[in-house]
């Protein structure tokens, strides 16, 4: 009797999480698939996908989603790596910088988008400062549909500011898992800072880099609030189009089709990282 109770214990401990995941993730995913592939009378259809692909914004949404991903993910990973390496040197006052770096973690993405809107808008902080310094005579229109590269640039900056901290946190945690002996051995055996980073730190950090890339890429496919705050639908992205089809066009079917497409891209990207960044068990140091 007692052993039966004991064997049930792990399941009872897992139950709340399982319930949470089922109600809030598994069922909605299932419903999204239903919405995406079902016609009004309940039969199987690809009409929603056809409608999605035929829309004039579809190509732009794909293009800008991938452009943002290509610009933001490498930039963030490099920035985050530099920040993590800097913090990891434990220079005097490094905790202060850690807190500064971590501030964006506490701010919701829409709030971050609005904050950056206040900076980049026609009479925003940036234009005021440039004007007072005498660099600009009249405001520069960062956020104009006539200047897409500038607008795109502001989104890259805002997104990088907002989400680099999470990448840094993952990488710093990874760095702290590496025993200091490895760094010291590299020093003793003649590596300078650059060589040590290239030949010892980065290879040992590979599992964390992989995690950071996966998480960051998944988020990049879902980019929405910051883009919406800064560019509205001038720069369409996939998650934004999904929202637009659901709320403005009242078409849950096409919205769900977008959601399914995002899911497919996400799974593909994750598979790609696992396949090409995989550390063999031996290299990772497992027996």
């Amino acid at each position: 009797m007692r052993s039966k109770l004991e064997s049930l214990l792990p399941y009872s401990l897992l139950a709340p999480t399982l319930l949470f995941v089922t109600l809030l993730i598994v069922i909605p995913i299932f419903q999204a698939f239903l919405l995406a592939f079902q016609s009004a009378d309940g039969s199987f259809t690809l009409a929603h996908f056809q409608k999605m692909a035929a829309d004039t914004s579809f190509g732009d949404a794909l293009k800008f989603t991938f452009l943002l991903l290509i610009f933001i993910v490498p930039l963030q990973v490099v920035l985050a790596l530099m920040m993590a390496l800097l913090i990891h040197t434990r220079f005097k006052g490094h905790t202060f910088f850690l807190y500064i770096y971590a501030i964006p973690l506490a701010i919701s993405d829409l709030a971050a988008g609005i904050a950056w809107l206040a900076i980049f808008t026609e009479r925003g902080y940036l234009n005021s400062i440039l004007n007072q310094l005498g660099i600009l005579e009249k405001p520069f229109l960062f956020l104009s549909y006539q200047n897409l590269p500038a607008m795109f640039g502001t989104i890259v900056i805002a997104e990088s500011w907002r989400a680099t901290a999470i990448v840094m946190t993952i990488l710093l945690a990874g760095l702290q898992l590496i025993p200091r002996d490895y760094f010291e051995a590299a020093d003793v055996f003649g590596a300078n800072t650059l060589k040590r980073t290239l030949f010892v730190v980065l290879p040992l950090l590979r599992p964390s880099l992989q995690n950071a890339l996966i998480i960051r890429t998944i988020f990049a496919f879902q980019t929405f609030s910051v883009v919406f705050a800064l560019a509205g639908r001038v720069i369409p992205v996939m998650a934004g189009e999904s929202y637009n089809w659901y709320v403005t066009n009242r078409n849950p079917g096409v919205a769900a089709a977008y959601a399914v497409l995002i899911l497919i891209f996400t799974v593909a990207a994750t598979w790609f990282y696992f396949k090409f960044l995989k550390t063999s068990a031996a290299e990772a140091g497992y027996d």
């Binding site: 025993p179 002996d181 490895y182 010291e184 051995a185 590299a186 020093d187 003793v188 055996f189 003649g190 590596a191 300078n192 060589k195 030949f199 010892v200 290879p203 040992l204 590979r206 550390t279 063999s280 068990a281 031996a282 290299e283 990772a284 140091g285 497992y286 027996d287």
Partner: protein, 359 residues
């Protein structure tokens, strides 16, 4: 090749001074062991030499070169870490070659020296493996090979055998001794294992509480410990200590008996009339006697442990316990009362208050 000179080296962690103005001169090609209990500062002293810690005072010299302010990579040293620190993402070959690659040597030379090092440590069959595919002992060999191929004038070892099991440790100990005889690099070896220290060292520097309390050849450390701490730290079992008091005639009363100090010490004892004193003697320097004679004390046998090569006896002398080592064929049983003979030449007398040896 180069000697090493610590000149009043000081190291402070927060409010604790862990190295207290240590000076030590190590000769070219010497095998010097830093021995002490954990927390005595021996590893910190080694790390100061490696450049992994900055000293807070004093100078560190390798040969004629003042390396005090140099980065580890500029000190021309090689090191074996306690954890081995063998890079898990590199093969055995790349691990051994790591230091050579950092020096940008021609690839032919890297290959030649790496294979040489692998051969010296019997790793030739494992060059393509990753450390995770090796046993602890093999990983340890990789760490040693990586250090040796550097052909550095100075080789540092931080408790390299402490993570191995007992049998492997015994093998590697002899192998390290052979290696040193072969490569002749000035070697500094940190350990808390007194057997390792006695076995390997040309000289041993015993550290206690951030200071070197004795530095001498192993047999002198063993036979003539400078104080009670060293006598009690070195030897298995360690030195026995008995309380005594100096008599007017220069002899010492221990319990009901009198022991006469060696003649060379008579002047020192004359000045200590009536003072308490500590008698230190190693278990193997005590012999059993059938009757009372000069320099014997009555003792009661509590425990007899036959250990193959010898018998270890635990005895009660007055209120104190001592260990005695006798030949395996000595007939003795527990609860027996015997006379213990103290060889005056083998006794190490110490000041009862300070624990310092009387010379």
């Amino acid at each position: 090749m180069a000697g090493i000179h610590f000149q009043t080296v000081r190291k402070i962690f927060g409010k604790t001074t862990v190295i207290k103005d240590v000076s030590l001169d190590i000769h070219d090609g010497e095998f010097m062991v830093l021995l002490g209990p954990s927390g005595c500062g021996k590893t910190t002293l080694l790390r100061c030499l490696a450049g992994l810690e900055r000293v807070d005072g004093g100078r560190v010299l390798i040969g004629e070169r003042d390396v005090t302010d140099l980065a580890p990579r500029d000190r021309k040293i090689a090191m074996v870490f306690q954890s081995y620190a063998v890079f898990p993402h590199l093969t055995v070959f790349d691990n051994i070659a790591f230091g050579l690659k950092m020096q940008n040597l021609p690839s032919e030379e890297i290959k030649r020296r790496t294979h040489q090092g692998a051969e010296l440590l019997q790793l030739t069959d494992y060059l393509k493996r990753y450390p995770a595919q090796l046993s602890g002992g093999q990983r340890q060999r990789v760490a040693v090979a990586r250090a040796i191929v550097m052909q550095a004038a100075v080789l540092l070892m931080d408790e390299p055998l402490s993570n191995l099991d007992a049998l492997l440790r015994l093998q590697m100990r002899a192998e390290l001794k052979r290696l040193h005889a072969e490569i002749k690099a000035t070697t500094i070896y940190v350990t808390h294992d007194q057997i390792e220290a006695l076995s390997l060292g040309d000289r041993i520097a015993v550290m206690q509480d951030g200071k070197i309390v004795q530095c001498d050849v192993p047999m002198n450390i063993y036979d003539y410990p400078a104080n009670k701490f060293i006598g009690g730290f070195i030897g298995t079992p360690p030195m026995n200590f008995l309380q005594g008091a100096v008599n007017g005639d220069g002899s010492v009363s221990v319990g009901a008996s009198n022991i006469a100090p060696a003649s060379s010490l008579q002047a020192a004892f004359a000045a200590r009339n009536g003072q308490p004193i500590l008698l230190g003697i190693r278990p193997e320097n005590l012999t059993l006697a059938s009757a009372q004679q000069a320099n014997t004390i009555s003792a009661h046998v509590l425990v007899v442990e036959p250990l193959g090569s010898h018998k270890l006896l635990t005895m009660q002398v007055g209120a104190e316990m001592i260990k005695v080592s006798v030949a395996p064929d000595q007939s003795i049983a527990s609860n027996q009362d015997v006379w213990l003979h103290f060889d005056p030449e083998k006794i190490r007398w110490m000041d009862a208050a300070s624990g310092e040896a009387i010379r």
